[in-house]
Symmetry: C2
Amino acid sequence: MAGQQPKIAIVGAGTIGLSFAALHLTKNPSCMVTIFDTRPDLQEYVQRHLPGYLLDADHDSCMRRLSFASKIEVAVGDAAIVQEQGPESLAFKVAVWPQIEQHAAEDALFWSSTSGIPASEQCRDMRDKSRLVVVHPYNPPHIMPLLEVVPSPKTSQTVVDRTLEYWRSLGRTPVVVKKECTGFVANRLAFALFREACSLVHQGVVSVQDVDEIVQASMGPRWTVAGPFKSYHAGGGEGGLNSFMDKIGGTVQGCWEASDEDVRKGNISVGKEWQAEICAQTDAAYGIVNTAERDNKTRKVLEAVKAETDH
Amino acid sequence: MAGQQPKIAIVGAGTIGLSFAALHLTKNPSCMVTIFDTRPDLQEYVQRHLPGYLLDADHDSCMRRLSFASKIEVAVGDAAIVQEQGPESLAFKVAVWPQIEQHAAEDALFWSSTSGIPASEQCRDMRDKSRLVVVHPYNPPHIMPLLEVVPSPKTSQTVVDRTLEYWRSLGRTPVVVKKECTGFVANRLAFALFREACSLVHQGVVSVQDVDEIVQASMGPRWTVAGPFKSYHAGGGEGGLNSFMDKIGGTVQGCWEASDEDVRKGNISVGKEWQAEICAQTDAAYGIVNTAERDNKTRKVLEAVKAETDH
């Protein structure tokens, strides 16, 4: 689909909307993007903020291929892809898809960027429920390669296949989540580690900054190159993950049980007393984070992996 | 201490011992290293395998600064640092430290590479229990920057400070773990995510390879640059982690509760039925992992971060 001058409608001009608009414009140099939002200063707002997402791409070319719509029917009318990142509310999403469906072309792809409202709920009032699929980014999508593609049981395989094809043609990493589940997968994994981190800080074993240093100097770089299964499989030598579990299983189980003792007693639930202390410690450690610097470093990391992989 | 031609005794010539020997020889170009092990072919074995750990360092210079000992008193007699990575058995470690203490210089540092036996147990029969500290690497230590420095309640602050100073002078990332706890911190964090990953694969949400792709395309690169607290703090914008928890706390709690339903019901414990299925899937996905390629990529990732940080 890349290279065919597809028109892409971005529904919602928040930070995710702008980041996705930038991703399409920079990685798919023939596409046209229309941004729909009801904010009255839409054009001025996007023209002021979008350039920050365009990185080292040709800004003029990107801005020339961009248009604006204050009515949703105008935005989606001739779009090949409609990508929604409106308010994270079931009522909004249930209401918006039938409108989009009414005005969009019959073969347009419908993607929701929701971080948690499954397609099977969003599609409730759609005529053709097979058209909708969740495409959940890891923020910000113009930097991070991952896209979790989460079909509902009604989503057609063709829609999933065309979605994967598009993102692969842009060099991204779409991964299909086979069953709709709470929080999808990336957040489930990250929040599990985050919970353990909160527990260890709460117990006074390490500080917030210690945790970050530990992760940045170990799992971060390791998992950039080889995910957890591949890493532990390698750790087992020729016998693989099986050997690893034979040798280290006792330690693994010991860690899980130690974790259960604190975390699973309910000490680490959202809103409990640990939270204020950890938020204060994080604020004292970092103030306001320079995300441009972080994103730039992340790009260099991804480029380094890619250079070695293509090598 | 780097630059003062310190002598370092490596007790145990397994893969961790060789990796640490290589780390000292390559990052501390004035040091001398003696490797002690009871294996009869020690010298031949080390000379065959060590070069694989020396990367692009001057191999001749490294090998010239290396010697061998088949008696522990010879190895530790004039060492400034004694670094132990013998068998992971409490009986071995309790027995070895008094021997080392008897023959080593009074101010020599004593480090154990154990992944789980705390210094407070290892030191049981030592005369001066304040000398011992755990220095737990993230494997392999000649590649990965992290060293978890875990004192016992009896370890002296001077020993901790000198340990940190040495590793910082070699450009590594030592982090003090303030309380001895099961598994220390890096493994606790990693195994928490691993458990969630096993649970999601077990439930058929994603495959082993999907998990690895997800992590490699999201948390891996992100956490290489900014650990979990700094990342979520940035995710909250100007309001930091507090804002993040206000906005996303419901999703976080939802994920934790969904995790509890499966993981904490005890479905994911070591040795249960999920394990064989996941080991088989991992083996089918990866066969034998090329760790040299993985380590080379990891170095490039770490160099990319360092170049941007020094920039």
